[in-house]
Symmetry: C2
Subunit: 314 residues, 2 copies
């Protein structure tokens, strides 16, 4: 009998239970709330599947073979000062995250491209002014970030018929994508794109990259979709560009402060569309596949990919 303990304040435990059962019916799944004072309960646990587990929880499991992270990063595990130092930690690597981000990118671009932002506001006023749409094959979208997520966004926006540009710090080459790089390449790309989509990682180099220089390089009346991190955007510059008409609208999933403060001007701004950091999630239905694959590998004594290298931190 193999038993996994799930500890997370944020994840839907029932959905995890159901998803793990579909992949490995013989796996025993325990929620943290089901572990009582009896030491035998803790002795049963073979694996801990965790997100920000309480300090000491993992150390209290005498027979645990590995810690499985419910996140790409493992900072939430390493933060536990009582973590047994030799225990293997497995990172979460999930292909479906890129697909979710690409859904949002396609939706956000089409939202502005098909004038849905205008028609919705007109509907609420019970009167439409019918506009004339743009021709997609002559409309360019620029994607900031060309990793796994940016690549999937590019492929799907390309499949929808857009001209696709992409930007990365270092030179890259992707089929069907006009690639730009470096600081000059960023403004060069912005100058050609009605829509920009940000999926960059947040680093000291990308902090504040959505600022007035980038916005002013775009053709007037363009649109920005940010589904990366709030730290990429300079809120004052976005608001000023919306008010001047340099930007026609923005779609934001991320914010400099999350949750977004109730008094923030974004909430009631008529050119701002937004969501509460939902663009990409680690979905139990998808992640359960790699969790189970890793448990089976460890049980069979096989090597496990995506083991945390503690000296590197990833």
């Amino acid at each position: 009998m193999t038993t996994v303990l799930i500890s997370s304040q944020q994840d839907p435990i029932d959905l995890w239970r159901e998803s793990l059962a579909l992949e490995m019916p013989e796996l025993e799944v325990r929620a943290e709330s089901e572990i009582g004072d009896d030491p035998a309960d803790r002795a049963d646990i073979d694996y801990a599947l965790v997100y920000w587990p309480p300090h000491g929880l993992i150390a209290s499991l005498p027979n645990v073979k590995a810690v499985l992270s419910i996140a790409a990063g493992c900072d939430h595990i390493l933060a536990d000062p009582q973590l047994p130092p030799q225990l293997p930690i497995v990172r979460m690597v999930d292909d479906y995250l890129a697909a979710m981000m690409a859904e949002y990118a396609v939706y956000g671009v089409l939202h502005f491209h098909r004038d849905m932002h205008t028609y919705r506001q007109e509907q609420l006023a019970s009167h439409w002014n019918r506009g004339w749409p743009l021709y997609t094959p002559e409309t360019a979208v620029g994607i900031l970030g060309l990793g796994a997520i940016g690549g999937d966004c590019a492929a799907k926006l390309g499949a929808m018929g857009f001209q696709v540009h992409g930007w990365s710090r270092r030179p890259k080459s992707l089929a069907g994508v006009t690639c730009h790089h470096g600081p000059a390449g960023l403004l060069e790309m912005a100058g050609q794109c009605r829509y920009l989509v940000c999926v960059l990682p947040l680093t000291p180099q990308t902090q504040g990259i959505i600022n007035k220089d980038l916005i002013n390089a775009m053709p007037r009346g363009g649109f920005i979709v940010n589904i990366a991190r709030g730290g990429h955007q300079v809120d004052e510059d976005l608001l000023a560009a919306l008010d001047s008409g340099q930007l026609g609208g923005i779609f934001l999933d991320v914010f400099n402060a999350e949750p977004l403060p109730a008094e923030h001007p974004y909430w009631q701004h008529n050119k701002v569309w937004m969501t509460p950091h939902i663009a990409g999630e680690l979905m139990p239905r998808s992640c359960a596949k790699s969790v189970v694959a890793n448990i089976r590998r460890i049980e069979a004594g096989e090597p496990v990919p995506h083991l945390l290298d503690k000296s590197e931190g990833y």
Copy 2:
């Protein structure tokens, strides 16, 4: 010198002029308003590119070689009692229409699939309740209609990762699409689909096809996107299903009466999202390609595809 006259109350004449110039710079383009009383003005015209032209206009052009329709159908030309009977009439056949419809289908499905309908209403109330999304690879979309438009919708929804079903009156087979047909197949498909998208032609057999039987066959809380014709939907049945919760929301581009009357309950219904019949347009930028190709064929004495067969009416 070849000259075309454009006559339409609805089309953007400047966009037509610009689009024709890109395809055939040597073509002279005249708007109807530019034709004066001088008979020489009318004698110059080689082609008439028209939508609902004024009666007698075409008969007043002594040297016109063909009438080019700015619509798939030609009823708007045949309605002119003074139309010279032997003049060739060319229908508009444009691939881009299907791409536009597929953009709307993908947008409309993602709108509900990613809870954008809910997040927008919550934004207006300055407070979010973060939900948990559905897993796209296990979510089915059903497309009513499997012609050129339905096929493109199916391909693009499939590329986004959805399970795709399709329905047509007669049996069809499309790669990557679970195909259903006939009256029993319609309800069988509806029973498996969280989302239905209608792109059917309006015929006596499809009139009112979006009715309580279809809606009640769907899983509770599903969504419908209708971008075909208003006559496909039974408004009372849609409204009743929204109010009962059988439907979670609808996205409509078409209505039984257009323009939609100001007092219609759809305008202010919080589960209804809609647009003023903009899903598919004949876009000058795309259509100019086939208009110019046909002018070149006639000038070269070559056969023209899509000539109207007046005995068939299409």
